[in-house]
């Protein structure tokens, strides 16, 4: 599956239930066209990971995901030797000596996501999720792979990508990434969607939700983002919340139902406390007024 224009890619993403804005569609398109990894940054919950998953669906490619965490190293990201099997093999050989070649053959190699993505014959979308969580040593290592698309295993040799995987990296910016890594990637910042798009997303993800409820939910969450919260809700939270409201059989929001369900939108106690009483009432009024207008 390949795409000649941004419109075609956008269409395919929509068909896979993802509504990208033009900027994201352009970014994904360019990443494929220029064969450069794409770095997606943005607040939590704006759909960074989802974008990569949907790209894989749209391309008919296999998604290989590497979730980063502190201390992530080669043996978990690239490959590891299967030591128990190797030991057993040595024992089983009895007095016959085991050659190094034999012991470090493919049947003893455990392939982790990066090797899997480089050494694949089918089309692959490689998602390197939350790269900012990995430490800098790993980032430097990743840099090598992303510049040459090859991996060297001392016992085996160099494995070169026969077809380059499409690569999407995501970051929540808990730290700045190294400039060298940024030089090798296209960069796209995903902001919160416009109200119209968010309503569209909610309707797509919560089938059967009343139009008015979708608009009010989106407008209310948008209002929350304008407050000074510890963790402003993302699109994922809007969807969760719309699900809850819809399941309760609501046509509209009111103070009572919002108070009952606010926990699916705000995840911190202090945030929930900050949105009490008058703030809550005025946010609801604004959301309802917004639904009246549309």
């Amino acid at each position: 599956m390949s795409f000649r224009t941004i419109d075609e890619l956008e269409e395919a993403l929509r068909a896979a239930d993802y509504l990208p804005d033009r900027g994201l569609a352009t970014a994904l398109f360019l990443s494929l066209a220029l064969e450069k990894p794409l770095l997606l940054e943005g607040e939590a919950g704006v759909g960074k990971t989802e974008a990569a998953k949907t790209l894989a669906t749209a391309l008919g490619a296999r998604l290989i995901r590497l979730q980063c965490y502190e201390g992530l190293d080669v043996s978990h990201a690239v490959y590891e030797w299967n030591y128990p099997r190797q030991l057993l093999h040595i024992r089983a050989a009895q007095e016959g000596t085991v050659s190094e070649e034999e012991l470090f053959g493919p049947e003893f190699l455990i392939r982790r996501p990066l090797l899997e993505a480089i050494d694949s014959d089918e089309p692959v979308v490689l998602l390197i999720d939350e790269i900012d969580r990995a430490d800098e040593e790993f980032e430097a290592f990743l840099l090598e792979i992303l510049s040459d698309f090859q991996i060297t295993i001392p016992e085996v040799g160099t494995i070169r990508a026969r077809r380059r995987p499409a690569v999407v990296l995501t970051s929540n910016r808990t730290r700045e990434l190294h400039d060298a890594l940024k030089r090798r990637t296209l960069f796209h910042w995903i902001g919160h969607p416009s109200i119209e798009r968010e309503v569209e997303i909610v309707k797509l993800r919560v089938p059967g939700i009343p139009e008015r409820l979708a608009t009010e939910a989106a407008a209310f969450v948008r209002g929350l983002r304008g407050l000074d919260l510890a963790k402003p809700p993302g699109v994922a939270e809007t969807i969760d919340w719309a699900h809850a409201l819809s399941a309760l059989g609501r046509e509209e929001i009111d103070a009572e139902v919002v108070e009952q369900t606010l926990g699916s939108v705000l995840k911190y106690r202090e945030d929930i406390e900050a949105v009490r009483d008058e703030t809550l009432v005025s946010l609801i009024e604004e959301a309802r007024a917004s639904a009246d207008r549309s």
Binding site: F29, E43, R163, F187
Partner: protein, 409 residues
């Protein structure tokens, strides 16, 4: 894997299709000769971006040209995103980029783009002046390392308040700081490395060694978790009353930044500004001059609460402070509401591993933390230190090295 011949170079941007490992080519960065109007346009725009302070290398310009080749040039938003995604790599550069784009491609009226640049130039001039005037004294002192000073002179210097030092004494103290800066809070990394006293067998090495002995693991290599620097975040008050101390602390910080990664530094007065990149690349005097310029509104008091709030909402949200030792350097004089200081300190303390407050006024034995801002902050502070002279900075170093989390999650 490159099939460039397959790909007609149409200006309208109809390429034969892209996909992973697909037909798009990665070679031949400039599709058409570098004389074409579009290449000139992009190259010049790259120069405009550099003017406003966005770093644009030649590789990025080539990407932009290749990108434009692949999209529909008649759609303004596609052109905009293509240029933005290829030429910009940082979120905080987006606003500058937007203004440059409007000015350059849309020829719209925009606010002057050169503001930041002028600020920098001004700061640079200050540095130059400072450096030139101080150059002679510095050279003359190269021979007198701290150790050659008489013990008593050394002791006196260590106890002397930063605010009362002569420039020469200050220069001497600067060198001593590099020594104390080596002690930093540490924590255990999740990464393991070879260590004979380790707690886990290093299976990979075990196996290689066993091969030589016919599969018998005669030697047992171990590995252990390394101890690494804990993140350190320093927020330094650079308002007028803190001047001498802020300078001393910034030299100290500069030495710490030189000691390894994981240090973030901020300056605040009426506003907050991030110092880290400056401290890594330039002289601390220059960094201080620039920070003071941005962060301090002369004649208006210090806004500790608002500055902490800015830190919490911009950097705290990005988890910069999570698990970090946060050091605040300030005399605690708050212009606004002390309650705001308390609220923001509470947020900060929740995310941080430990909070240290350094207040030079505490160097005076008579001092009592009665100022509203200071009193409001104290309940959230794990350690409260003076930091008015070298000896107290040594104490700070020792505290940082051994600090433990005291407050609840």
């Amino acid at each position: 894997m490159t099939e460039s011949s397959e790909r007609p170079r149409l200006r309208s941007g109809r390429s034969p299709g892209v996909g992973p490992g697909g037909a798009a080519s990665a070679d031949s960065p400039l599709a058409y000769g570098p004389g074409t109007a579009i290449v000139r346009h992009v190259v010049t725009f790259g120069r405009v971006l550099r003017e406003v302070g966005i770093e644009v290398g030649p590789g990025r310009v080539a990407d932009a040209v290749r990108g434009l080749d692949a999209v529909d040039l008649t759609r303004q938003d596609d052109v905009y995103f293509t240029l933005r995604q290829t030429l910009v790599s940082r979120h905080d550069e987006l606003e500058l980029f937007d203004r440059a784009f409007v000015a350059w491609f849309l020829r719209g009226p925009v606010a002057p783009l050169v503001r930041q640049k002028q600020e920098r130039r001004y700061a640079d001039r200050i540095v130059r002046d400072t450096l030139e005037s101080g150059a002679d004294g510095d050279e003359g002192e190269n021979s007198s390392t701290p150790r050659e000073l008489g013990a008593s002179a050394h002791e006196l210097l260590r106890a002397k308040d930063f605010a009362e030092m002569t420039p020469e004494e200050f220069a001497r103290v600067r060198r001593l700081m590099a020594v104390i800066a080596r002690t930093r809070p540490r924590r255990t990394s999740r990464r393991r490395s070879p260590d004979p006293r380790g707690d886990r067998l290093d299976l990979r090495r075990l196996l290689r060694k066993s091969l030589r002995s016919g599969g018998e693991p005669l030697e047992q290599p171990w590995k252990a978790r390394k101890s690494v620097h804990r993140k350190l975040v320093v927020l330094c008050d650079v308002s007028g009353s803190m001047d001498a101390y802020a300078r001393a602390l910034l030299f100290y910080l500069h030495a710490i930044v030189g000691s390894g990664g994981g240090v973030e530094a901020f300056a605040f007065g009426t506003r907050l500004t991030r110092l880290t990149p400056d401290l890594a690349t330039r002289d601390p005097e220059a960094a201080l001059a620039r920070a003071t310029e941005i962060a301090v509104d002369w004649g208006s008091g210090t806004r500790i609460g608002a500055s902490l709030g800015e830190f919490n909402s911009v950097y705290g949200r990005r988890a910069l402070s999570r698990g970090a030792v946060v050091v605040i350097v300030s005399d605690g004089w708050e212009r606004d509401d002390p309650d705001l200081v308390a609220r923001e300190m509470a947020k900060l303390a929740r995310a941080a591993y430990a909070v240290v407050w350094v207040n030079p006024l505490k160097g005076n034995p008579e001092y009592q933390p009665l100022a509203g801002g200071m009193r409001a902050a104290l309940p959230f502070v794990d350690r409260f230190l003076p930091g008015h002279n070298l000896r107290s900075l040594e104490e700070l170093g020792a505290v940082l090295a051994g600090i433990e989390r005291r407050h609840a999650a």
